[in-house]
């Protein structure tokens, strides 16, 4: 039975997992704020909005839309949250209505997950308001209730947020509007994260609907690509969120209250992009010849990035079709053989054998046809890979690509970085570059432990550790090389000095901020320095006072390589490291751990969140990464310089030279 609420009325909620449906006649932004027992919203991170759509227990849409479904799990909210306010705002922009009086009255319904309505509320009587607090879910004596609020704000989102006690409300509001604008202009579609069926949330149709980005309360398995895939596409919104990273020159304060800049932060003009490469017409009966950059995007980099993700998905799906067909053929054969053997008439004479032969032949026939279809797809993808690989820019290319020999220090950050290759057992020579978006959204853990893979079991422990450090060096070198000269610094913690050999390319070329830190004192000093940086930048961003940062603080990004963890770490240092892992990425401090989880076993489960927050890669081939569509186990191999090649050292020398010449 639905309660139709009027303004101010409340209603007890019979359950805690809810959907809040919003219908409005025109696109609106839907968000939610969390309040503590006094109703105060403690900070920008307590607001769910299109730029930061997921909070524990709460998810909102990434875009403005006429219809929304917000997923709420009240049990999953932090204990300190006593109030959830659902808010609506009109998106800003020319030609859009700027007051709720000009659009149809929004309608809000609280429903169970099965769609049954619990309470509804129509927000009538709005006029010049452009933002409105629609509903409030609140704790009362251990139970949750809903109250129809309908409090409008003529001063818009900024006014509403200020009313809820948020510092720098104008900035927050600007960031939200910017995220909406970025969301509607986003041309890179993130590959949809794979979510357990039961947890998926329905999304309305239409071009603005995000692909199955729905509720993902369960943490993805460590190293699941689904997670990084989701993160991959959300840079635009992430960068616009209230906890945004100051990139280059931090200017979060400059937008306060002023008109909103809809320009892409890293795109200079809105001139139409150069036309994509023309695809030559295919000969009849043959698939089109592949061309590098045959995908959508505003630049060649973006097209290649999208093309690679497209190849990744196509390969995942082609192999899924093949495996499904073969599984079916196998199970059908088993059933047929069982049936033949179960029939007593077949026990005598050759009838049983004949039935078995027939079943086997049927299986072989189907498997062969499946293989034929797979080979056709693989051949096409291999042909595409053969034209795409040589066309890749350095950041996407393997170390064996000649593009690295013509390397120049870049002027701007590329869209993504290749951290290795992925392949499936069906065709091991077809490699898909594993691209992660820059700036990094989570740290990297290079697992120096003995993993389940054959390659790791074959290697001895010391060789594996050495190889892990070499992988870290190759990755760090890539990051240094693809960032402009002064925008990326690398720090190394090597407590026992055990990795001096493999670290040589970094130490010898002079690209490190300081020599590798050793001993407990060195560990503490580096951690303290980076923690201070995270604290300061975070405070400055929250307070909108980026220009008051101390002058000795450089604004570039930092990478901390930690070898031999937890050797040389005391409890305080471990805590600082976890803090950096959690808070660092949003302010440009990234972590790269070279570690064997076994070594840190003494810490028990307290470190589990740390490992889970990092993208796990391995120094040797290991099949531990899952794709976001089907969930195959892909074999990852790091990108390493070819045997005997000096390309890494040459590139690092150029990086070091650029840093010396234009040192300001």
């Amino acid at each position: 039975m639905t309660a139709e609420l009027v303004r101010g009325q409340n209603h007890t909620l019979p359950r805690t997992r809810l959907e809040i449906r919003v219908s409005a006649g025109s696109p609106v932004v839907a968000g939610a704020t969390l309040g503590d027992e006094h109703g105060t919203v403690r900070g920008a991170e307590w607001i769910a909005h299109p730029g930061s759509p997921q909070l524990p227990g709460l998810e909102v849409s990434r875009q403005a839309a006429a219809d929304h479904r917000l997923a709420v799990d009240l049990d999953a909210l932090p204990e300190t949250v006593h109030r959830v306010t659902v808010l609506l705002a009109l998106p800003t922009g020319a030609g859009r209505p700027d007051r709720f009086g000009a659009v149809a009255a929004p309608f809000v319904a609280v429903t169970g997950l099965d769609g049954t309505e619990i309470a509804t509320f129509t927000l009538t009587g709005l006029d010049t308001e452009s933002a409105v607090a629609a509903l409030e879910l609140y704790r009362r004596q251990g139970a949750w209730k809903v109250r129809a609020v309908g409090q409008g704000y003529a001063t818009g989102l900024a006014g509403m947020l200020a009313d809820q006690g948020i510092d720098r409300a104008a900035e927050c509001a600007a960031a939200i509007h910017e995220a909406v604008a970025a969301g509607s202009a986003r041309s890179v579609t993130p590959p949809p994260p794979r979510t357990p069926d039961g947890e998926r949330v329905r999304h309305p149709a239409g071009p603005s609907a995000p692909p199955a980005g729905g509720g993902q309360p369960a943490a993805p398995a460590p190293g699941a690509l689904g997670d990084s895939g989701a993160a991959a596409g959300s840079t635009a919104s992430g960068a616009a969120g209230p906890g945004a990273t100051p990139q280059g020159s931090p200017t979060p304060g400059s937008t306060a209250g002023g008109p909103i800049d809809y320009a892409h932060p890293r795109r200079q003009t809105s001139a139409p992009p150069p036309p994509p490469p023309t695809v030559p017409p295919a000969a009849p009966g043959e698939p089109a010849r592949p061309v590098a950059g045959d995908a959508t995007g505003w630049s060649m980099d973006e097209r290649l990035y999208n093309q690679i993700w497209g190849m990744f998905e196509d390969l995942a799906r082609a192999v899924a079709a093949y495996r499904s067909a073969v599984d079916f053929a196998d199970s059908r054969m088993e059933q047929e053989i069982d049936r033949a053997l179960g029939d007593p008439r077949n026990r005598m004479g050759g009838a049983g054998d004949r039935a078995r032969e027939e079943a086997r032949a049927k299986r072989e026939e189907l498997a062969a046809r499946a293989r034929e279809a797979l080979d056709r797809d693989l051949a096409q993808l291999a042909a595409e890979s053969a034209v795409v690989e040589p066309a890749l820019p350095a950041a996407y290319a393997g170390w064996d690509n000649p593009v690295w020999h013509g390397y120049r220090v870049p002027m701007e950050i590329p869209m993504a970085l290749r951290v290795g290759d992925l392949h499936l057992p069906e065709r091991t020579d077809l490699r898909i570059p594993l691209l992660v978006r820059l700036p990094l959204e989570r740290g990297i853990w290079i697992d120096s432990g003995r993993t389940a893979s054959e390659a790791a079991a074959a290697a001895d422990g010391d060789a594996l550790r050495r190889s892990a450090v070499e992988t870290a060096v190759a990755l760090a070198a890539r990051l240094l090389a693809v960032y402009p000269a002064h925008e990326f610094s690398v720090h190394v913690i090597d407590p026992a000095g055990s990795a001096a050999g493999p670290l040589a390319p970094l130490t010898a070329s002079g690209v490190l901020a300081a020599p590798p830190a050793s001993g407990a004192g060195g560990v503490a000093a580096v951690l303290a320095q980076l923690t201070r940086r995270v604290d300061l930048v975070q405070m400055a961003v929250r307070a909108g006072a980026a220009d008051s940062l101390p002058p000795d603080l450089d604004v570039g990004e930092h990478l901390l390589i930690v070898n031999d963890f937890p050797h040389g770490f005391d409890d305080r240092a471990v805590t600082q490291l976890r803090y950096l892992a959690d808070e660092g990425p949003s302010v440009g401090v990234h972590l790269m751990m070279v570690a064997d989880r076994e070594d840190a076993r003494a810490y028990g489960p307290v470190l589990d969140p740390l490992w889970r927050s990092l993208l796990r890669v391995t120094p040797v081939a290991d099949d531990h990464l899952a794709d976001p569509w089907v969930g195959h186990a892909w074999t990852y191999e790091p990108s390493r310089a070819p045997e005997g090649s000096r390309v890494l050292e040459q590139v690092l020398a150029l990086v070091a030279a650029a840093r010396r010449t234009d040192r300001r």
Binding site: S23, T120, D197, P204, A212, A321, A325
Partner: protein, 192 residues
Amino acid sequence: MTVNMTKGQAISLQKSDGGTLTAVRMGLGWQAAPRRGLFGSRTREIDLDASAVLFADKQPVDVVFFRHLTSDDGSVKHTGDNLVGGAGSGGDDEAILVDLQRVPVHIDQIVFTVNSFTGQTFQEVQNAFCRIVDETNGQELARYTLDGGGQYTAQIMAKVHRAGNGWQMTALGNPANGRTFQDLMPAILPHL
């Protein structure tokens, strides 16, 4: 040239020039519920959902519906959930695209179903139809109207199945009851 199909009628999905079809779209359209007087927001919306179930030898292998928009093999794609319906003027409100060339070799039948997620029977839904379109040129191959569906909340619309080297479509038009395709499985099985 559109064929208005009747229940149980089978048509071969061959092009008029004899070539076989490579991609088809199953479109579903219905008219949104009329707005109720002054309180338009209290209109009980009609949410129909189109689903496709992929079968290999009568075993369901994969399902494409609003919670799983693309089959694992990538051959069948749902364009997205429409929760309210459209103008009822014949446009598709939900569509499922099938790339027949990419359908895995063991899949021999694809069954299309329509469910009323919000529970209205087809008697209450105006101008509902389902149609099959040749996706390469937009030509409508077959149309099946859902009007007069009676006291049912679901319909097993049609199946596309392998025949020789190509594909054939059979209109099923079998009424059933259920909120999502899972409820329909017992009703689908006799039609395989």
